[in-house]
């Protein structure tokens, strides 16, 4: 099974963790740069830094947590996609309702 081969490469250098770590640091400072240094409007900054946050979350999921690993990898990934959908509905929905209320 392909998922099993992925699991057995345990004796190598932990590339996925090291690359994930470097990517996370670069993305954190990229978000800080966009938020603090550039002259974009608040909503433009919000869109860009949240896009960066979602990329960073994906780095955690794929490079650190190896979400697709194991026999149930597809279910695990599906669970995380459904959780992301709930999160977006709850947060964006609440903000939308509360801001259009008055």
């Amino acid at each position: 099974m392909e998922t099993e081969n992925k699991n057995v490469q345990a004796n190598r250098f932990p590339w996925s963790q090291v690359i994930g770590f470097l990517l996370s640091i670069v993305l954190t400072f990229a978000a800080v740069w966009v938020g603090k240094i550039t002259d974009l409007s608040y909503s433009q900054i919000a869109i860009i830094v949240f896009a960066i946050a979602f990329i960073q979350a994906a780095v955690q999921l794929f490079m650190f947590m190896h979400v697709t690993e194991g026999e149930q990898g597809k279910w695990q990934l599906g669970k995380m996609f459904s959780a992301a959908f709930f999160a977006i509905v709850i947060v964006a929905g609440s903000v939308w309702v509360m801001n259009s209320m008055h």
Binding site: N7, S24, A46, A53, A57, Q60, W75, K79, S82, N99
Partner: protein, 203 residues
């Protein structure tokens, strides 16, 4: 409960038994529920943050460089937790424990910095009861901080058990699941850092 366990030595220890596989899948489902929990707290903060009239604003009281250091500390602990699992899969329990202890030290450092930050904020007039912005701020960051504290206690106990019993399908599963939890804490913090601290400093 262990009766259906069959060993498959081609896969890592934690995936070798049916129980282990189901526990890991179950933990992912738990993490999905945790996403919903943090989403509601996050939604409360974003829905309430612009509707306050008195009390200090985030931009007046946040020390942004301090928060960047907190973020890097937690990020590093997530990385070292990943290295612990890497060593676990090489069956190197000593290196695994060393990385887990480093992970916990970074975690404790993060918690210390967060508590110090809360004390600073309270002295600056931003308390739990100041207004809806700060109530929801403390609820969100506090819930995350409590998760970090629970994770430190949990992983400490797992280290003792792994040292006592060695690496078995059962202990390996516990170490693996706790590392998923630890990565998840950084996963949540990414959004807290971005939405609360970074956007709180904009404009």
């Amino acid at each position: 409960m262990e009766n259906t366990n069959k060993l498959n030595t081609n896969v890592p220890l934690e995936y070798q038994t049916e129980t282990g596989k189901l526990n890991i899948l179950g933990f992912w489902i738990f993490l999905g529920a945790e996403v919903a929990l943090f989403s509601t707290l996050y939604a409360a903060y974003f829905a309430l943050k612009d509707g306050v009239m008195e009390g200090p604003l985030p931009i007046d009281v946040f020390d942004f460089n301090y928060t960047i250091i907190m973020t890097i500390v937690l990020l590093t602990s997530s990385f070292t937790s990943g290295l612990a699992i890497h060593e676990m899969r090489r069956n190197n329990i000593k290196a695994m424990v060393v990385w887990l202890i480093i992970t916990l030290l970074f975690g404790a450092g993060f918690l210390y910095m967060e508590i110090a930050e809360f004390i600073h904020l309270v002295h600056s007039g931003a308390t739990l009861g100041t207004n809806a912005l700060w109530s929801s701020f403390y609820l969100l960051t506090g819930t995350h901080g409590v998760h970090v504290a629970i994770g430190i206690v949990w992983i400490t106990l797992i280290i003792f058990q792994a040292l006592k019993r060695g690496l078995t399908p059962d202990t390996a599963k516990k170490v693996f699941v706790s590392s998923l939890y630890w990565h998840f804490l950084d996963f949540v913090w990414i959004f807290v850092f971005t939405g609360v601290y970074l956007l709180g400093m904009v404009k």
